[in-house]
């Protein structure tokens, strides 16, 4: 498999804190790759560096064979790498459906001068159908017309994932997708992620829930104090003494 994403030696300090220190990762195309580590290990910061929401102090990021660390975040998203947020961000005063529609790329009418074009309505109708299909998948179709601000924490996480899917990405970065989601739904979501992967999407998943990591991931990377600790197949990583120590020691 070719590498869809390869990041090398990323560093970021906040004052004297080295949040991410020489961390690297590779995500093969078509894989579900896990990123784990104790609280404060630097996982979320690492996502921010990959997507350029925070500019790294140093390091390289290649996506789909192209260096991206110089690109603004929206350009990275347009290339097909979409990130989600650990604290899910719902657009409160937009409906759930509008939230979903925002995710679609290259919509007719996204440019000011296209707003009057007659094709807008048709394009939007198709996108709405697509959005409803995804909402049904994640068990949120009955909420489509509600304001997103009224969603629960778990529902917001689901909405965020659905919104990212609307953009037909090559790679989705999920920051703790299972946090705050009820166990039955977690199983469902894992099922959907597997299916989306079969459709050709790749995932990089931060998760504290080890069941999710074990059932989903092809390979797991462990971050501790901003640096790579070990990486390998989930079963191996789970029993690695270094990993156990990092978790217990923190």
């Amino acid at each position: 498999m070719t590498d869809l994403l390869r990041a090398e030696n990323l560093c970021k300090s906040f004052g004297s804190i080295k949040a991410v220190n020489q961390a690297s990762i590779t995500v093969p195309a078509g894989s579900i790759t896990g990123l784990i580590g104790p609280n404060g290990a630097g996982k979320t910061t690492f996502f921010n560096l990959l997507s350029n929401f925070i500019v790294p102090d140093q390091g390289q990021v290649m996506f789909n064979g192209q260096p991206i660390q110089q690109l603004p975040p929206h350009r990275i998203a347009r290339l097909g790498m979409v990130r989600t947020f650990q604290v899910a961000k719902a657009l409160s005063r937009l409906s759930v459906l509008e939230n979903m529609l925002l995710g679609a790329q290259d919509q007719i009418g996204e440019k000011m001068w296209q707003a009057w074009m007659p094709q807008v309505a048709k394009d939007q109708k198709q996108l709405k159908e697509k959005a409803m299909t995804i909402l049904t998948d994640i068990g949120m179709d009955h909420k489509a017309a509600d304001f997103a601000g009224g969603l629960s924490g778990g529902q917001r996480k689901l909405l965020e994932m659905g919104r990212a899917l609307m953009s037909d990405p090559k790679l989705i970065l999920l920051d703790e997708p299972a946090a705050g989601v009820n166990p039955r739904l977690i199983d469902d979501i894992c099922g959907h992620i597997q299916r989306w992967r079969k459709d050709g999407m790749s995932f990089l998943v931060i998760e504290h829930n080890m069941d999710v990591i074990m059932s989903l991931c092809d390979r797991v990377w462990v971050l501790a104090e901003g640096s790579n600790l070990v990486d390998g197949p989930p079963a191996k990583v789970q029993n690695d003494p270094q990993v156990l120590e990092a978790y217990l020691g923190s």
Partner: protein
């Protein structure tokens, strides 16, 4: 009576256009613009100065709007990448800078400085001739079309929200009164009546255009930026560029409002463009409900109804000096705003449900 209604309609329509520009920036995109009057100043002076050079008004006013949009571009390019509160500070500064530049000695030969500009061309001004009957009929017909269309939209809206039916009815009745008074004035033609027709028609066109934009995917991105700009950024939208467009378009609309303002006041002084106008625009937008274009128009009407009523003769019978009355009028506006913020923080037409939503 009909003169009074024409004046009220003219003032409210001009301020409604002005407020719609701010509403696009603040109500829909969340951009804090505390110097809205700067765009209006640029629009007003450009239009008038060009018309003095013999440029036809229908070309001069759009150029005024374009230059105002260009001011938005300059402000946006320098501040939009910074933290959002910078925009607020810079816009205050720019609006004062524009006014002070215009009244400075250096530019007096062009702008008239503090002495202002007194005589300039007004639109649809036939004096001393009178327009033909056919022209007048055409005007009255156009006015009927605009007011009729507005009433029809209100009617459709009232039908959709049955509990709002009486509000729609009230609106339609006021449109009818405005229409009758306007038609009488257009029949006894003077340039005020013509200007009112032009302003109301322009307001209608701008309103329809804005509604279309706001409900398009483009408008959705603006609203997303208002809610949390990280989200559209993560989904591939060029947030900076969208903000710039909103700032420019809102500024351009305020520039157009500036042309109408200049035609309404008939002589132009820098003191017509005090920061108070920005405050008025914010009052109107908050009154009607940020992020609601109909609300902004209603806000402008309420604002001007209040303003004119408190300038009528009955005020003079009160035992206050005119200075006291002036201060009092502004105090009451502040008080009304406070009451609205407490009781209806979503504005007169805003949706209460939206406010109880968490981030």
């Amino acid at each position: 009576m009909s003169n009074y209604i024409v004046f009220l309609t003219l003032s409210a329509a001009t301020y409604a256009i002005f407020g719609l520009g701010l509403n696009l920036q603040w109500g829909y995109t969340g951009l804090v613009n505390f110097g809205h009057v700067a765009f209006m100043t640029v629009g007003a002076y450009t239009t008038v100065l060009l018309s003095l050079q013999g440029v036809p008004l229908w070309i001069a006013a759009p150029i005024g709007g374009t230059l105002a949009a260009f001011l938005g571009l300059l402000i946006g390019l320098t501040t939009l990448r910074l933290r959002e509160d910078y925009l607020g500070i810079v816009t205050i500064g720019v609006s004062e800078l524009v006014r002070i530049t215009i009244q400075s000695d250096k530019f007096t030969p062009i702008t008239g400085g503090v002495g202002g500009i007194q005589r300039y061309e007004l639109p649809l001004n036939f004096a001393p001739a009178v327009p033909s009957y056919l022209t007048k009929l055409g005007f009255i017909g156009l006015f009927a079309a605009v007011m009729g269309l507005a009433s029809w939209r209100l009617w459709v809206w009232g039908r959709k929200n049955m509990n709002k039916m009486w509000q729609a009815a009230l609106g339609i009745v006021s449109f009818f009164i405005i229409y009758i008074c306007g038609a009488i004035s257009l029949y006894n033609y003077d340039d005020r009546a013509g200007l009112m027709l032009l302003t109301v028609t322009t307001l209608a066109i701008i309103y329809v255009g804005l509604e279309r934009l706001i409900n398009s995917p483009w408008g959705r991105v603006l609203k997303a930026i208002r809610e949390d700009e990280e989200v559209p950024k993560a989904l591939g939208k060029n947030v900076f560029w969208y903000k710039l467009q909103a700032l420019m378009l809102g500024g351009g609309i305020a520039g157009i409002a500036g042309a109408f303002y200049a035609w309404q006041i008939t002589s132009l002084y820098p003191s017509n463009f005090e920061p108070l106008l920005t405050f008025n625009a914010w009052t109107i937008v908050s009154l009607g409900g940020a992020g609601n274009n109909v609300g902004v128009i209603l806000g402008a009407v309420v604002f001007w109804a209040y303003d004119t009523v408190t300038r009528l003769d009955w005020i003079k019978s009160l035992p206050f000096s005119s200075d006291q009355v002036g201060a009092f009028r502004i105090m009451i506006i502040g008080l009304i705003l406070m009451v609205i913020m407490l009781w209806r923080p979503q504005g007169l037409l805003g949706n209460k449900d939206e406010l109880t939503l968490g981030k």
